[in-house]
Symmetry: C2
Subunit: 429 residues, 2 copies
């Protein structure tokens, strides 16, 4: 068992579902905050839990350098390393390598690139990207792909897409051969082997952590749901938890190539599919067109993940189109620049107009920041370069994104239309 | 009523007491974390509450520049501005100005100095320092003093001490004339005027904050204790809450001048006394000698505050000598440099030896950091320059300091010896 996905309700093309992972359940559609270096910059894990984050994204490229895959693996994998008992997804490193335009060289075998930290030379291939992601041990990992640059002519896009398809096959082959090497899999126990309920997790646990209990609980629940889908007597046939490898559809800005990429990726066969290679400089309208036309070629019964999207309006829009998973650095990165999302539009908290504003950041927000602090205080923290500014701004922006997605999900479950007018993400004109 | 202080237990010269302020009770001896710019760098206020912080220190010099006293005053004072319902103490700015060695000029009237931010010229006098501190509205404020440099000859120390004494008189005179101008005093209501219980606080509260309730509760409790000390029928005679102005003893490293400074400061009359002008470069042994000889001249029935001290060992030592209040930037500043205090000694978390260390930072610590994260993770955050490093390191160091002081207090209440061997602050040899 790796993941299980069930659609609970549908309205138009939008759907609400549940994604069961080895580290707990994820209610979809879901926004996944980005925790690049095993941390959502500035926010303690217990606050992320309180915000209702069910799945985090980690960046393989960055973790490969710091602290290093082997270090994380020896410490039991990312969950244990960063004390995060809930689900994690890692990207393959392909997109980060792609963004090192002048520092990379792509060949059939893989990509040679220079570190953004010290210029040292490194090599990623489908096999090494799988090895890294298995060592990190996220619940969902991504095939190694080439993100096609924009603009690119049709021949270049086709060649790139073909390369990604060959890499997808190699990714899957390597993953299937090595998926049992995930740090937390080897000690994973099926429910019947652990009558007490709390399975012991893998890793060099020199002391008992309070979160380890939660970790085990999540795994146990996952296993229980697994068993719930089978005859009670057949519990022990439920295989130990492993990671799930998702495929990535490429094909540039060409509808026909996107369709072909989707069909051939599905042919290879993955438990979930992502659309990659967007937001690479193309106009927003084009992004939307490509996303919409590609989506219809993805299987409805499996999770559909739109990578690197987007603004509050976009995540609502794409959830309504039928995507189940999204991630973006926007809420966290904007927070660090004092750009805050509210039900009344965007606020640049650095502006002097907020210096004496005793109102909460967003009067319609129930987050711990809006419940406690004033705009004047947040403005002061930002203007004074206080570390707390980043903490509070990030907590609010994440809260806004998560609330927005929860509102969409809620609307779907209620069978209502979920146009962006239903949720509080309308910017001021 | 400003503050009330009662000694609950005594063992040798050490004592455990309760300091009642307009914003809640403070159990002494107490360590006061430094929140220079209305924030303990990187730590949200609810975490400070969870750590059991009962009183915070703010720096008048820094707040005078950012966000400015008038801004804070208009927003209802520091408590409301920073959403901190518990007690606050502000220093007078004297020490900060003193540390601007090349940028200040001291005269009878006051000190002319240049801003560390933009070099602009400013002037602090006893009167303006009181005005600033009344506008900020801390529960306890400090007389404006001259911190004598070290080394200094006897004549220089005497002249400086005399100046501080004249400034103490002027501080007190100005405070007495203007103490009713504190932002939260004017709307303060005695219990009988607010039968519902929750007094409404002053300030431009454009919306109800959840903490405002707590704020009011604290004030209400303070007023109730006030009333509890008087016949029930006389509740309304209990005067509205005001700030408390503490005097500061100077006198350099001269025992005789310290004695004289103490006696003449006491003659002026304050509800509490601080020892200032230490840790200015003198040897630690000399600090201890001066502290000890000065302490015996301070009244036993009033709170005694040792400013700017110190290491975990020192706060234990000075609490055992009989001090009730201490503050220091050490736990918070050291945290930002990756220097962490533990029951097993100091740890420099940046060291490579912790990269694979799955143990908690301090196996004997119950703080949320030690309960959840490993040394390996903390080391990774620090080495990767992640913002969460500062947050978690600061939370742990503060927890260690607060636990240390609570252990001393507990020992005193139990009537035990409270040598530093009783508390977990012994560094490794």
């Amino acid at each position: 068992m790796s993941i299980q996905f069930q659609v609970e309700a549908q309205i138009g093309s939008a759907r609400a579902g549940r994604l069961l992972t080895p580290h707990g359940e994820v209610e979809t559609p879901v926004f996944m905050p980005v925790g690049t270096l095993a941390s959502v910059k500035g926010v303690p894990q217990d606050i992320l839990e309180e915000l209702g984050v069910q799945i985090l994204l980690g960046n393989t490229y960055h973790l490969y350098f710091r602290p290093g895959v082997e270090q994380v693996r020896k410490l039991g994998g990312l969950h244990r390393f960063m004390a995060w008992p809930r689900a994690i997804l890692t990207d393959s490193g392909g997109f980060q390598v792609f963004s090192l335009t002048d520092l990379r060289k792509v060949a059939e075998e893989g990509v040679t690139f220079r570190s953004h930290l010290d210029g040292s030379s490194h090599f990623f291939s489908p096999e090494s990207a799988m090895e890294a992601q298995i060592g990190l041990g996220a619940d969902i990992i991504m095939a190694f792909d080439e993100c096609t640059e924009y603009p690119a002519d049709r021949e270049r896009v086709r060649a790139s897409m073909e390369l990604t398809l060959r890499w997808a096959e190699r990714s899957k082959r390597h993953f299937e051969e090595h998926k049992d090497e995930v740090p937390w899999a080897k000690n994973h126990v099926a429910p019947d082997a652990s009558p007490g309920g709390h399975a012991k997790l893998a890793g060099a646990d020199e002391h008992d952590r309070s979160y380890a209990g939660e970790d085990a609980r999540a795994t146990h629940e996952a296993a229980e749901l697994c068993s719930a889908r089978q005859p009670r007597a057949a519990v022990s046939t439920c295989s130990p938890a492993t990671q799930a490898l998702f495929g990535i559809v490429q094909g540039g800005m060409d509808h026909q190539l996107r369709k072909e990429s989707a069909e051939r990726t599905i042919e290879i066969g993955f438990p979930g599919y992502a659309i990659g290679g967007l937001s690479v400089g193309e106009p927003r309208e084009l992004t939307r067109e490509i996303v919409e036309s590609t989506l219809e070629h993805l299987p409805a019964e499996q999770p559909r993940y739109l990578m690197g999207v987007g603004t509050p309006e976009e995540i609502v829009e794409y959830a309504n189109l039928g995507f189940d998973m999204m991630d973006c650095v926007l809420p966290t990165r904007a927070a660090r620049h004092g750009l805050l999302f509210t039900s009344e539009g965007k606020i640049s908290i650095k502006q002097a107009r907020y210096a004496g504003d005793a109102a909460p950041l967003d009067p319609n927000c129930g987050c711990r920041v809006c419940q406690r602090y004033s705009r004047a205080y947040l403005r002061h923290l930002y203007a004074s370069n206080e570390a707390l500014a980043q903490v509070l701004n990030t907590v609010h922006n994440l809260s806004f994104y998560l609330d927005t997605m929860r509102a969409v999900r809620h609307s779907i479950l209620l069978g209502k239309e979920t146009g962006s007018s239903c949720v509080r993400s309308r910017p001021k004109p």
